[in-house]
């Protein structure tokens, strides 16, 4: 099986290049994922760098651009990929080396939405309880693994990564805005108003299209807009 992989070591190379790799078909087993193939290629060429950890789509470490589409290498079956399998780092983030990108700008936007429960009321004797209906509002919002596949597929995030939060951070914002136990809803909504942080979103929906966990950041952003509108009227 043939692969074309993005290679770049900023300390040594003047420019990135695409390197061809060949993997012996005898090594490929049915049901193998792209990450397994990358590990076999790394055994051939140990200078090839990429991130990986859990290997089963839970940690979100191995987000990369696979044949032009962002996804997690560990849950992308080799069988469905056309050859040569072209693998590039997530677009729009600075490359540290090969497929390893600097997630700093992505995490900064995530941190800026204060992704924690804000509630200054006295701590109750028992947990802060929710009804099943209140809890259900968090479904589809809390499952994000912060792999950055969505934000780095978003043109608005490419153009304005410092000012536009990007779909992942906005999904997280929706998760806290919807939380019945949170008391900072008003401040959270105010923080998202203005032309930059949320409203650079033009409903392109690449985020929903690529999310490897099947979440709907685009829908979450629409929910925030509706909520803002309701509060404003």
């Amino acid at each position: 099986m043939r692969f074309r992989i993005y290679r770049y070591d900023p300390e040594r190379d003047s420019a990135p290049r695409m390197q061809d790799y060949e993997l012996d078909d005898a090594l490929i087993e049915p049901g193998m994922m792209l990450l397994d193939a990358l590990l076999l290629l790394k055994a051939q060429d140990d200078s090839l760098s990429f991130r990986r950890s859990c290997g089963e789509g839970v940690c979100g470490s191995d987000g990369m651009n696979i044949n032009g589409r962002n996804g997690l290498a560990c849950i992308t079956p080799l069988a469905g990929l056309s050859e040569p399998v072209t693998v590039r780092p997530l677009p729009g983030l600075p490359v540290i080396r090969d497929l390893v990108v600097d997630m700093g700008p992505f995490y900064r936007q995530y941190r800026s939405i204060r992704p924690w429960l804000q509630n200054d009321e006295p701590v109750p004797e028992v947990e802060r309880r929710q009804t099943p209906a209140e809890r259900a509002r968090l479904d589809g919002l809390y499952e994000c693994i912060l792999c950055a596949c969505c934000s780095t597929a978003c043109p608005s995030f490419w153009w304005n990564p410092e000012r536009f939060l990007g779909p992942a951070a906005l999904l997280a914002a929706a998760r806290w805005i919807e939380d019945s136990r949170d008391r900072a809803t008003e401040a959270r909504l105010d923080d998202l108003d203005g032309p930059w942080r949320l409203f650079r979103c033009h409903t392109i929906m690449n985020c929903t299209e690529v999310c490897p966990k099947g979440l709907d950041p685009s829908g979450a952003i629409a929910r925030i807009r509706r909520r803002m509108l309701r509060e404003a009227l």
Binding site: S156, W159, N160, L192, D193, G194, P195, W196, R197, L198, F199, R200, H202, R225, M228, L229, A232
Partner: protein, 111 residues
Amino acid sequence: MSRRASGLRAWAVQRLSALYLALFVLLLTGKLLLAPPADAAAWRAWVARPAVNTAFGLALAALLLHAWVGVRDVILDYVHSPALRLALLALVLLALAAFAWWGLRILVGLT
């Protein structure tokens, strides 16, 4: 044009103006297809009717507001130098103001 410039308001204006324009264009097309005015004089007389004149006035306002939000979006997306951005936004605003004046003169001139 950054921190407290409108986000939600601009977005709502864009949606509302789109709604009005869609309805207006549909009705106008229907009128022109089903009961077209016989000549220029009939057309002028029709547009001079207060209800029609108001509808055209609202359409002009909706069109200008819609254009402002849309062009502003494009400039905010792609123009990253603050000075150039401000200059372009001012230019667009100036052009839209000129269109508003021109359109209003025509509409008022007919009544």
